[in-house]
Amino acid sequence: MSRPHTSLSRRAVLVGAIGLLASGPARATAVARIASLGGAVTEILWRLGAGPRIAVVDTTSIYPAEILREKPNAGYLRALSAEGLLSVGPDLVIATEGAGPPAVLAQLREAGIRVELIAEPPTAEGVLDKITAVGRLAGLETEAAELHRAVAAGFAGLGRQRAAVKRPARALVVLSLANGRAMVGGRESTADGILTLAGLRNAADGLSGFKPISDEAIVAAAPDTVIMMANEGHAQPIEAVFAPGTALGQTPAAARRSLMAMDGLALLGFGPRTPETAEALMRAVYPDLPRE
């Protein structure tokens, strides 16, 4: 993994740190270096134009693809390293809630670095709040407001199209399919959230969260369409997913050959691409829906 940029001079970082300590939490000027932990946070920062100021990301920050290649990687979101994060000299850490371990976050705060956690409810309001919060923290309120407007408009359009859906189709979001064992998104999961936005019924609403599902339950769920993850363009071929004899192969989705592969972060990350993603889902399942 290449790291083309070198760290800023010690003095700049220290001055920044002292400035932080001296002035307290309320700051309006742009922050020099940001540790961006969490795919949605990274995506928002990049959309706001703060890409160059991102000092380090985590393994879930997969969009845009170059970011993970170019920036230092602090590891898995929930298994961070305090010293590792300190070594890139961030002035601010913006992380999705669930970052950890908590001791590491505490150590960062002890070092005088501001650590802010962003809540992630899988709803349209959640996305908009995220944009506002990240924008405020990064000192890019104007750009954030701009993005907020665009995304809100997207959600509004989505809502109107959803109203036109007469009979909601049943969809199954499959997180992973290995050895014939499917992990699907049930109630109260991000999968459920995106399906709601797309005007689809969650076929797996008997489960809660992301859980493995039995073959019989798949057949009972009878989804009209199956949505899978396709990260970096790799997706399972339709013949493999709907192979005859598999549970998925006996669903209405298989009969209609309705399989969609989408980027995982776009689908479940609840970031700025959410309205487009939901719309793409909607279009694919309800091709006759009038366009906006």
């Binding site: 390293s81 010293e83 070594s87 005088g112």
Partner: protein
């Protein structure tokens, strides 16, 4: 009468002088490990400043961050590594002496099975249980380590009860029952894994790979009082363990209170390893490999072996942690990976190098 020379042939290197040299070498190695652990890391801090901070000579606020890294991150981490490494290696030697088998390791008393199950329960079911009990908010941080410790201890007590009949503990029964209990715990853990979602599965996997990350002074303060007394007591067990090598009946004939020795060793191992697992997750290979390496150098005499294990175990774990911190900076490798990646080849090399072990 010819004077009995202390020179060794066959399996180990020569002489009392060599034994002393090896001990001195171990002390030096430990010192080196401490220095490296304090001086190296993702944050570049020049050695002079490291020393200055340690000595307390540096109050410069501009260096506050470096001081924090040294004093609040690297120092507790180093100490925790020394404690956990020492307890793992010593426990390995104790278990090998108790089972009279060089393949025994600290987990044979059921600790990793029990603590793994407890950890899985907390990770997978914790939030649901809290909701059912009406407790608000996220899981408090100490719940997982405490549960892991109690789980390990409970399994050990269970195993001990199963293996002890009429005051006599059968190590053979303990071994077999341990396998059965581990399978049972593994099955329940598997159920929890099956019921877990992606995030919980990740958490559990990382826990079972072990890590010294998040080592705070609080953790050190809680771990030290459990491990240090065990390390201090252990040399007194050396004589009994030597005699036990000859067999339980022979040890009794030599005047050792065998059942009491077994009970004590099992208890000490349960406490030491349980605490280590609670603090740092499951770290493998240290308990198995360190006593072996040392037996090659200083022989199997337990009164020498046990303190040496404490030194080498601590030093090696700290060095493994340095590697874990540097190799993927700014990310960190789980330390259990490093010990396995290095420990397994070393173990194989040792096995290839020595004459074939006799069966039984």
């Amino acid at each position: 009468m010819r004077r009995v020379s202390r020179r060794r042939t066959g399996f180990h290197l020569g002489g009392a002088q060599t034994g002393f040299a090896i001990f001195a070498g171990l002390v030096l190695l430990t010192g080196l490990a401490i220095l490296l652990s304090l001086g190296l890391g993702a944050v570049r801090i020049p050695p002079g400043r490291v020393l200055g901070i340690l000595v307390g000579a540096s109050d410069d606020p501009a260096l506050a961050r470096d001081a924090l890294v040294i004093l609040n991150i690297r120092l507790p981490r180093t100490l925790l590594g020394l404690l956990v490494g020492a307890s793992l290696a010593v426990s390995g030697a104790l278990m090998q002496g108790l089972f009279r088998n060089p393949l025994a390791d600290p987990t044979l008393v059921g600790i990793s099975a029990g603590s793994g199950l407890a950890a899985a329960t907390v990770i997978v079911l914790g939030d649901r249980l809290r909701a059912a009990a009406g407790l608000p908010g996220p899981m408090p941080y100490p719940v997982l380590p405490v549960a892991a410790f109690l789980g390990g201890l409970a399994t050990t007590v269970c195993l001990y009860r199963i293996a002890t009949r009429a005051g006599r503990t059968s190590m053979a029964t303990m071994l077999l029952a341990g396998i059965a209990l581990a399978a049972l715990a593994g099955a329940f853990t598997g159920l929890l894994v099956y019921a877990s979602d992606d995030r919980q599965l990740r958490d559990l996997t990382f826990w079972s790979l072990g890590s010294l990350s998040g080592a705070t002074w609080t953790k050190v303060a809680v771990t030290a009082p459990a491990i240090l007394p065990v390390l201090a007591l252990v040399p007194f067990l050396g004589r009994g363990l030597n005699a036990l090598v000859l067999g339980e009946a022979e040890a009794f004939h030599l005047g050792i209170a065998v059942e009491r020795l077994k009970r004590l060793v099992i208890l000490l191992v349960a406490v030491a390893v349980g605490t280590g697992v609670a603090a740092a997750g499951v770290i493998g290979f240290v308990g198995l490999v360190v006593p072996h390496i040392l037996r090659l150098g200083i022989g199997p005499e337990h009164r020498r072996l046990l303190p040496a294990c404490a030194l080498l175990g601590g030093a090696l774990l700290v060095l493994a942690d340095v590697v874990a911190r540097l190799v993927a900076a700014p990310a960190e490798l789980p330390i259990g990976l490093v010990t396995a990646l290095v420990g397994a080849p070393v173990f194989l090399w040792l096995l290839l190098g020595r004459p074939t072990l006799s069966d039984g």
